[in-house]
């Protein structure tokens, strides 16, 4: 079973993604801030993918992404934001995908499947 970490400060979003991806057969972990995410990654070597929000209170997702990339290039990261404008920020190119949040989760699910298959 593949392990996915969901990083989002919105509890309802975390809850939705947890239920939707568990149905898909993944083991889901979720945290509500960037610092929690980095702690989690530090202590869990068997993580397979991260779904990362950008706009969060303590540390934004791009900063978290940079931190992740200094540690490992092996874990795919999907930036998942309500903003499309962060695509202009070149740091976002460090991510494997950038998807704007949508009520239709099929694109996100497809991308997760694609990245985990590779």
């Amino acid at each position: 079973m593949k392990n996915i970490l969901i990083v989002d400060d919105e509890e309802d979003i975390r809850s939705l993604y947890e239920s939707e991806f568990e149905i898909e057969g993944y083991k889901i972990y979720s945290v509500s801030s960037g610092s929690e995410a980095l702690d989690f990654i530090e202590n869990n070597y068997d993580l397979d993918l991260v779904i990362l929000d950008i706009k969060m209170d303590d540390m934004d997702g791009l900063e978290v992404l940079e931190n992740i990339r200094t540690r490992t290039n092996k874990v795919p990261v999907i930036l998942n934001s309500a903003y499309s404008t962060y695509k202009n920020n070149f740091t976002s190119w460090l991510a494997d995908a950038y998807l704007v949040k949508s009520s239709n989760l099929s694109e996100l699910k497809d991308k997760v499947r694609e990245l985990l298959t590779v």
């Binding site: 404008t85 070149f90 704007v100």
Partner: protein
């Protein structure tokens, strides 16, 4: 010199030669007393006065003055009288002698020859000053260099002006490498000269009138001399050139058969065709503007030192006039630049105000969009999940269906809204198209640690500038290049060419598999639009390109190979 000698010298220079004498009824002269040394160029006045022909008694004014004195009325007369081949000028004062009524009168005769010479010389100087004065007035009426040059030549060659037969103007280039023949005036042959001078004598004009009437039009008679002068280009490196000597010595020179000339100078003189040339430098405060050359090819009149002196003085005023046109031109260009800069500042300030307002609105709108999108994702997401789970409950299925559909609808509106917001934040500037493309590729390759594709920029496109927002350009081109690289199997498999065509910068993105099939899927994605993120990105890229007057297309001469074409309008230099 002794005091006596000094007094004598002063006396000789200042005392007007004069004679006192008596005259009787028979006009016999007696009791002569002479003042001053030379009287009418003779040392002894006695012989002159006793000459029967001396008094012009046929002159009624002289006779009348003498008769009045005989009648005890003092009188005075000014007259001139020819003796031999010379004309002398006199003042005669006649007065009655005490006790000699009607038999003898006293006369005082003053020699005015020197006064007259002074007056003639003074008049000549005034006339010369007037030539300069008329020309300076004409110079002041125009700032057009061609008119100034024509005024110079008219003043040099017209009868009421300096009176030379022909005039030529040579001007130096900015780097002082050459003197270029610019303009000339004057007849090409005696026959033509006769024709010109005849027509001028039929209706004589003053110098002021000549300068006013002829300064703006080219004379039909000047074709030959103008062809001649414009064919001449004289290198200034010639150290011994008389033109350069005239400049270095800052004075006018006469070049004639006595002048020691080198081969180039002889050749120039031969081309101009006259035996004697007057050359005057045109010099501004700090540089050599050129020369005026004048000659008397038709009349062969020798060039006198006073002709030369006047030409030199005139050339100084002409230099100022030419220099003023240069300064005026530079001033005008600077004023135009300042005006343009001022307009740019006003425009920039307006744009800044507008941009600040838009930025504020955009930020607010982004926050609103974010606040809407998150709950929408939750609502729509749960609704979609619930829809999948509901079985045999058509009423709930219908309601969740409506919620999902409306959530999707609001999301589409937000997507369009977001792309408009990012467009409203743009800050347009001038950028070199090649630099922008290389910058885009460098960013893409550094982030993805890939090799740079080949970029070939055509010579004509190297300086091509476009007006665009740098961020939006990158955004649009990154999407297009990324799509092309996905098909071609990586950025390094692409080749980009930038060309210039009809004032457009054409960017060709070449690579394997960029074929017709790719083109269809690429453009289908744009048409389908709102659904997938990839399609939205391509649509926004096209929207950006079109916003800046550009376009996106595909060309494929072969089935397997093709290229994407992106074009942007180039801005012209003055924009």
């Amino acid at each position: 010199m002794s005091l006596a000698g000094e007094l004598k010298r002063n006396s000789a220079e200042t005392v007007r030669p004069a004679a006192f004498f008596t005259l009787d009824r028979n006009y016999f002269v007696g009791n002569i007393a002479q003042y001053g040394s030379l009287f009418c160029e003779v040392n002894c006045i006695d012989d002159l006065l006793k000459n029967d022909n001396f008094f012009p008694l046929d002159n009624p004014h002289v006779r009348d003055a003498i008769e009045k004195a005989f009648n005890e009325i003092p009188s005075q007369v000014r007259f001139k009288h020819a003796i031999g081949d010379k004309t002398f000028h006199f003042d005669l004062y006649c007065f009655p002698e005490l006790g000699q009524y009607n038999s003898s009168i006293g006369c005082f005769l003053a020699d005015r020859c020197r006064d007259e010479e002074t007056a003639i010389s003074l008049q000549s100087k005034i006339d010369r000053l007037d030539i300069i004065n008329q020309a300076v007035r004409a110079f002041a009426e125009t700032t057009n260099l061609n008119e100034i040059l024509r005024i110079i030549l008219l003043a040099v060659t017209s009868g009421p002006g300096l009176g030379f037969n022909r005039g030529f103007i040579f001007l130096s280039d900015e780097s002082l490498t050459y003197l270029h023949g610019c303009l000339a005036t004057g007849p090409s042959s005696p026959a033509e000269a006769g024709e010109i001078w005849k027509s001028l004598s039929e209706e004589p004009l003053s110098l002021a009138e000549i300068l006013r009437f002829y300064r703006s039009g080219e004379s039909p008679f000047d074709t030959y001399v103008n062809q001649l002068v414009t064919s001449l280009k004289i290198p200034l490196a010639e150290s011994s050139s008389f033109l350069k000597r005239s400049y270095e010595e800052r004075r006018a020179l006469v070049i004639d058969s006595d002048s020691n000339l080198n081969e180039d100078e002889i050749s120039l003189k031969k081309k101009l065709g006259a035996e004697s040339l007057a050359v005057a430098p045109l010099v501004s405060r700090d540089s050599w503007l050129g020369v005026i050359i004048a000659d008397n090819l038709i009349t062969n009149k020798p060039i006198s030192s006073s002709d030369l002196q006047l030409l030199e003085i005139f050339a100084r005023y002409a230099s100022d006039a030419i220099d003023n046109t240069h300064l005026y031109g530079r001033l005008q260009r600077k004023v135009a630049k300042l005006k343009k800069a001022n307009e740019e500042i006003i425009r920039t300030r307006e744009n800044l105000i507008r941009s600040e307002k838009l930025t504020g609105i955009s930020k607010m709108a982004l926050e609103v969009a974010h606040e809407i999108r998150n709950p929408l994702t939750v609502i729509g997401g749960h609704s979609n999940a619930r829809l999948r789970k509901i079985k045999d409950d058509p009423e709930n299925e219908r309601i969740y269906g409506i919620i999902s559909k409306q959530a999707a609808r609001i999301e589409n509106t937000l997507n369009r809204f977001s792309s408009i917001i990012s467009m409203s934040e743009k800050k347009d500037s001038k950028f070199n198209i090649g630099d922008l493309i290389v910058e885009t590729l460098r960013t893409m390759t550094s982030v993805k640690s890939e090799k740079m594709p080949v970029v070939d920029i055509d010579d004509k496109a190297k300086d091509g500038m476009i007006l665009i927002d740098r961020g939006l350009f990158h955004k649009a081109m990154m999407v297009i290049i990324r799509e092309a690289s996905l098909i071609a199997g990586g950025l390094s498999n692409l080749r980009l060419e930038i060309k210039e065509q009809h004032n457009f910068a054409i960017i060709l993105i070449r690579g394997e598999e960029l074929n017709e099939k790719f083109a269809h899927s690429f453009f289908d994605a744009m048409r389908i639009g709102q659904g997938e993120l990839k399609s939205q990105e391509i649509s926004v890229a096209l929207e950006i390109i079109k916003h800046y007057g550009g376009d996106l297309g595909i060309g494929s001469p072969e089935i397997s190979k093709g290229w994407l074409i992106v074009e942007f309008p180039l801005i012209k230099e003055e924009e």
